[in-house]
């Protein structure tokens, strides 16, 4: 990777010294990469307004011959997703997705489907699509592309198929990653459950693709159930609660 030229979405920027920025981007062709943008903080002309979080940029970077972090040479704004900035809820969701990408993905391993997913979801947020539904879509596909898709087709314990399971509400075994039917539920009732309708909608998303997502209509209870399920499932497999999820919950409480 001596010279790179690609598109990327800015996930993180850290101030480095008095003049520079260290950026982490999800790029179209090289996956997650970190770069140094020299004089980005000092110069008005070098990268004017281009290095903002969640923006999609086209970039040219060069790796120093002696090794070390690639240096950003050129950057042009492709899609600023400016509607996200200045909106608390949208920023909170975009931060949550970015943190998942930052913590979950390996460096320099191209993940084009995750790039397309993040770009699509940031675009949906920017365009005013419902953030909660967009987040359900992001999380489900993100899990799918990362090989951690939850098993919603059958009970993870008795292996009974969804259509044949008794009852209209199901628990979920976070460790095994599968539904738990009424007959297999033991002990006290879980904090949250998934109704049959919600499971079917989640399955529809899993089986579909981003092109059809705009046809998706979620009821309020289905949004709540899906949110609780996915925001419990992801931290469980991540091994910790994402910092931005705490912020997101705080902002959601303000709005309710």
């Amino acid at each position: 990777m001596s010279s790179i030229s690609t598109a990327g979405i800015l996930l993180r920027r850290i101030e480095y010294g008095d003049h520079d920025l260290i950026l982490t981007l999800l790029t179209q062709d090289y996956g997650k990469i970190s770069m140094i943008a020299k004089f980005a903080r000092k110069s008005r002309k070098r990268f004017p307004g281009t290095l903002e979080l969640f923006s999609e940029i086209t970039l040219v970077g060069v790796s120093p011959r002696k090794g070390g972090m690639p240096v950003l040479q050129e950057a042009a704004l492709k899609q600023p997703f400016a509607g996200i900035r200045g909106n608390l809820l949208k920023t909170a969701y975009a931060s949550y997705w970015s943190e998942l990408v930052l913590t979950w993905l390996e460096e320099q391993k191209a993940q084009k489907n995750i790039y397309r997913l993040l770009r699509y979801c940031l675009g949906a947020l920017d365009a005013g699509q419902p953030p909660a539904v967009t987040s359900i879509v992001f999380q489900l596909y993100f899990l799918q592309f990362s090989g951690l898709s939850p098993n919603l087709r059958q009970c993870g314990r008795c292996r009974g198929a969804l259509e044949k399971l008794p009852g209209e509400k199901f628990g979920f075994d976070l460790e095994k990653g599968g539904l738990v039917c009424k007959g297999c539920l033991t002990g006290k009732t879980p904090e949250w459950q998934l109704s049959r309708g919600t499971v079917k909608q989640l399955l529809w998303i899993q089986a579909g693709n981003l092109k059809n997502i705009r046809r998706l209509r979620f009821t309020e209870p289905a949004i709540k159930e899906s949110q609780m399920f996915l925001e419990a499932f992801i931290p469980y497999h991540l091994g910790r609660e994402p910092k931005s999820l705490k912020f997101l919950n705080h902002i959601r409480q303000l709005g309710s």
Partner: protein
């Protein structure tokens, strides 16, 4: 460093902990201090000691101050009904240098940053709401940066102050003085056009 006496070695070690100072620079500084006049070195040592002992945050605006209340907050000539909200004390100094503001300040000591886990309880937002809720504040000017963290913090403050009888404004953003349009990004240019004014 083994050849230096212990007191010099200690000084070099401490100086090299400062940002941007490596061991060689620390050694050079230590040699300079060794040859400097005694009163110069004592003055430097006293100023470092005072820095830690005297400097604190103003109890009202959280700017750096030698007193309980900073010079701006205790100045009767300044308009306490207008509060300018900034991220850090250096931002306050920058506005003061412009000589264009005669109100009081509120230094947040940071910005909301969801991915870094910096939430509203980690910066001085509650104290700002407290100042406004006491009454006597006519306008709150939010002068945080225009990056995502700055805009998020501004939006949060705006929402928190929505229930109070106070005018909440945001500093304008647009083409910088002496700047050329070709170097201005599309988001800034859009904001500049939206915020245009008659001449």
């Amino acid at each position: 460093m083994i050849q230096y006496p212990a007191s010099i070695t200690r000084l070099i070690r401490n100086l090299s902990k400062l940002p941007g100072i490596g061991e060689k620079s620390a050694e050079r500084l230590a040699m300079y201090l060794l040859q400097a006049r005694k009163d110069q070195v004592v003055e430097l040592a006293d100023s470092l000691k005072d820095l830690k002992e005297k400097v604190r945050l103003c109890r009202q605006c959280f700017a750096l101050s030698d007193e309980d209340l900073c010079k701006i907050c205790s100045d009767p000539a300044r308009d306490g009904a207008v509060i300018c909200v900034v991220e850090h004390p250096v931002d306050m100094i920058a506005i003061e240098k412009s000589a264009s503001f005669n109100g009081h300040y509120h230094v947040l000591q940071g910005l909301l940053s969801p991915m870094d886990g910096i939430g509203p309880e980690d910066i001085r937002i509650r104290e700002l709401i407290g100042r406004v809720s006491k009454g006597g504040v006519r306008e709150v000017i939010i002068a945080t940066g225009t990056n995502v963290e700055g805009e998020t913090t501004a939006a949060y403050i705006r929402e928190q102050l929505a229930g109070y009888h106070v005018r909440v404004t945001r500093i304008a953003s647009g083409v910088p003085m002496g700047g050329e349009l070709k170097y201005v990004d599309q988001v800034t240019l859009k904001k500049a056009l939206e915020g245009r004014h008659a001449v």
